[in-house]
Amino acid sequence: MKALILAAGEGARMGPFTASVPKVMIPVGNRPLLEYVVQALVENGVRDLVLVVGYRRERIQSHFQDGKAFHARISYVTQTKQLGTAHAVWEARPHMEERFLVLNGSNMVDSRFVEDLLASRDKPAVLITQSERPRSYGVVTVRGKALVGITEKPTEVISNLINTGAYALDQRIFDEIERLAKEGKHDLPSAVSALAQRTEVEAIRTEGTWVDALYPWDLLRLNATALKGAHEVRAGTIEPAVTIRGRVSIGDGCVIRSGAYLLGPLALGPGCEIGPNAVLLPSTSLGKNVRIGAHTTVANSILMDDVILGPACVVQDGVVGSGVVAKAGLLAASGSGDVQIEGEWHTVAQLGALIGEDVEIGNGVSVTPGTVINERARVESGARLRGTIPSGAVVL
């Protein structure tokens, strides 16, 4: 059976972290989100995958290539206009056989999740789960095991059962998509709701893992989940007098200098250099080629590829994009913060800084909890930051 994975969206609510990568390629536990979906499918023997790509599709294609490295065969369909999920499925129509799976590429799922979906056998099906914030999703109404309908982001409480965006479908869905497109509706939940009017659509409650990241700080939760289940590898050079406790993965070519203190779960990608007396605390992921200066502390954070933190920095509960370079003494500690994303304010109990790709930070900069520094901003030495720093800005 083939699976169709939706990976065309930008993910604007991810703030600076989707400036040059699609949401599905944001790393958690040092692997792009999309890898978790691919792996869960492959573990269930679903190896023939079609990725619907659009925004920054080159990033997805150069990572997954033809899929061989992931024990899958991957082909790509480009969605030229990001009209909606139903449109994405429609574009992939020539690739689909009679029955196929549809999954969202930006959710972290496990093998059990896919197994539950496959249990649908021959009926069309949707996987549902319980959620603490149903209003952000499509809420499902069911009669017994049959789907009645999906209501997108309801204003009043209907139920706490939501649509995970994972479906088992057959050719019949294309009739619904075609019909709804004429009414200007291009979302897949509407098409599945319409299908449920004509034939039985099974609503299967999954026992597996399904974690969705809506906002950048959600990534820290996903990262912690991923690190708990991560495979532990130990490579690289570890100098004398380094302390390592817990589940700590150290990639090829890493160098850990004397006096460093590493508490798991941690994942260090290949080619990282950890300076003398640096402290890495749970649950932290360091991407490829990251350098951490002497006496720097990083806790519960994601540092993506090529980040350089100078000596004596503190980064807690933060997300730091690829290529960020901070000189000595960056203070980005955690606290309760108000964050503005896409014009909306959110209060987050425990958050440090959200720093976009290629930001340059001078010496002795301090950052208020919840500050968003957008991509390519340049912050001069001694600055104190709060609020949102626009992309490419120079802060004196």
Partner: protein
């Protein structure tokens, strides 16, 4: 999941079946086997990769056969459990993908009737069941057997007494027919067939199919014939391997950040450039051909700037036949393939002259590694497009590492400078990615400038060879005449060629020659030539002197050849694409030049 392949035709079946299996290896690869009907039925199988099986195959002749690659989801992969399975008489062979649910009951019944089982697999029950119904017609026996079977399957069967015939059936596991002239194929998936035919028929659940060299018949399980027209597959095998990119060249340009990462991996923190020879080196000579020669020319500037050692670059085809001076430079030989004939010759010549030699190549175990004292690998991964892109970038990265190592060993660099340079080298993947993010902007500029008959490239210092490489890329793949000049040389002749219809691409990034470059740009724009400049982000002056600017990020100038090269590679690619050129395989050119 497993993969199966069947063939009935005029050719020898074995190579076709093995090739098909390799295309299906993504479906599983813990054991594999083939069965061929020639004078008799021959079966060979083993656990492990398909290459493993291939290595121990005897000569098997016969133009009918089936093959199987297995991914054991239950039970251990082993030789006995590998498919195809054979019946008691040794005449029927069966390859199966799927699960027979009621195999235990079938097995009990068959064993009671005296059938001998060898394996633990569910599949073996089915082959004995077919045997029990066999009465001279494999198709009929298979049909009867399938009536007794519950489960999911795609099967292929052959009988020693019925050469030229493969019987297949499908229920909930994929099976496609490839239709050829005088030969027909069956497989789990289309890629296994694409090398031989682009016409396919999909077999549906509950259907049986029989292929012979002459034809294909599909019937339902009740034996009623089904009519179905073949479909034409419009994608090629190559498309699948290009991972969604239009050409290998574009895919490979997009792999340059990864190539930089991999090339730096484990070498940067302690400058572990293995067994490197900087002891007693007073000068360096870099020798190469083509694109690698341009890397060598840039290497001269890198080594002189960072390590403060005199360096020079020479073409391998010239170096070989020149008179050796009396000094003994360290000779660095660069070839992507490691097989370039002139570069190998130059390596031998360097050794004859008593020089120490270092090779830079992308291919492990290539001939170059046997001709030099030390080999440093660019870990760019395989490059398929004839025009080198990511491997050129990776060659530059190795040259930066060599320069840093020499600077460290000779203490021409302080540890503070070393750390700063190392951090800058760590940032190079970002600089390359920054240019890739501008792909659309560069595409628009290619449309604007790419219709010229001649295009000139100018640059100075380390970016002069970058201009040469930019021009070479454009020539190679777009067939547009392109020449590069050291900008200071314009007045000595080339300026005579500059007119309003010859665009000039000028590399004018912030480096020690920036002011000079601006005057040179003035010289060409005075002749009304349109100018596309590669400049540095935030340069407010440059746009006033030129028509368009592609900006590179602000990085120390010695590293600027990396982002500038990525920009020029993308430009050449987009121009060639606009003209519809065969980008990955330009006329008259080969990937590696193994003749002199």
């Amino acid at each position: 999941m497993c993969g199966i392949v069947g063939y009935a035709g005029r050719r020898n079946a074995l190579p076709i079946l093995l090739d098909g299996l390799k295309r299906l290896e993504y479906r599983g690869y813990d054991s594999a086997g083939v069965a061929i009907v020639g004078d008799s039925l021959q079966v060979v199988k083993d656990k492990g990769f398909i290459a493993n099986l291939e290595a121990q195959l005897p000569a098997m002749t016969g133009s009918t056969g089936v093959a199987h690659t297995r991914w054991a989801t239950h039970g251990a992969p082993s030789k006995v459990n590998a498919h195809p399975h054979v019946d008691c008489t040794g005449k029927i062979a069966l390859a199966h993908n799927g699960i027979i649910e009621n195999y235990a009951a079938l097995r009990e019944k068959l064993e009671a009737r005296g059938h001998k089982f060898e394996s633990q697999t569910d599949t073996e029950s089915l082959v004995h069941l077919i045997e029990s119904y066999y009465d001279g017609d494999l198709e009929e026996a298979t049909r009867k057997a399938l009536h007794d079977v519950r489960g999911s399957y795609a099967i292929l069967a052959v009988h020693a007494g019925e050469p030229g015939k493969v019987v297949g059936a499908r229920n909930e596991s994929p099976l496609v027919v490839g239709v050829g002239p005088d030969e027909n194929f069956l497989a789990s998936d289309v890629p296994a067939l694409l090398r031989y035919t682009d016409r396919v028929l999909y077999v549906m659940d509950g259907e049986m199919v029989v292929i012979t060299p002459k034809g294909v018949t599909i019937k339902n399980i009740e034996g009623k014939a089904v009519r179905r027209e073949p479909q034409r597959i419009t994608w090629s095998l190559e498309d699948a391997e290009k991972g969604g990119f239009e050409h290998f060249m574009l895919k490979e340009i997009h792999e340059s950040p990864k190539a930089i990462h991999d090339t730096l991996l484990g070498r940067l923190a302690n400058l572990e450039v293995n067994g490197f020879l900087s002891e007693g080196v007073t000068s360096v000579k870099l020798v190469a051909c083509g694109t690698s020669y341009h890397a060598a020319m840039i290497g001269k500037y890198i080594i002189e700037e960072i390590a403060r050692i005199p360096a020079s670059a020479e073409l391998a085809s010239e170096y070989r036949y020149s008179q050796g001076p009396s000094d003994r430079p360290l000779v660095i030989l660069i070839t992507q393939s490691g097989e370039t004939a002139d570069t190998l010759g130059a390596a031998r010549e360097a050794r004859r002259r008593g020089c120490k030699t270092v090779g830079i190549t992308n291919i492990l175990g290539s001939s170059l590694s046997r001709e030099v004292d030390v080999t440093l690998y660019t870990r760019a991964g395989i490059e398929i497009a004839v025009a080198g892109t990511k491997t050129f970038i990776a060659q530059l990265v190795v040259l930066y590492l060599i320069a840093l190592k020499m600077g460290q060993d000779r203490a021409t660099l302080g540890y503070d400078e070393l750390d700063r340079l190392k951090d800058q080298l760590r940032s190079l993947p970002r600089a390359a990615q920054y240019m890739l993010n501008k792909a659309e902007e560069i595409r628009a500029l290619a449309k604007k400038y790419g219709n010229a008959r001649d295009i000139f490239y100018i640059g100075r210092h380390a970016n002069f060879p970058v201009a040469l490489e930019g021009a070479l890329k454009l020539k190679e793949i777009s067939y547009i005449h392109a020449e590069a000049y050291a900008a200071g040389e314009l007045k000595h002749g080339p300026l005579a060629l500059v007119t309003p219809s010859t665009p000039v691409i000028a590399v004018a990034v912030h480096d020690p020659t920036y002011e000079k470059m601006r005057s040179n740009i003035g010289e060409v724009s005075a002749r009304e030539a349109p100018v596309l400049a590669i400049g540095t982000e935030g340069d407010k002056e440059l746009p006033r002197f030129v028509d368009d600017v592609i900006e590179i990020p602000e990085i120390p100038w010695i590293f600027s050849p990396v982002p500038v090269s990525v920009a020029l590679q993308l430009f050449a690619y987009e121009v060639a694409r606009m003209h519809g050129c065969p980008i990955d395989k330009p006329r008259n050119l080969a990937k590696s030049v193994t003749v002199e």
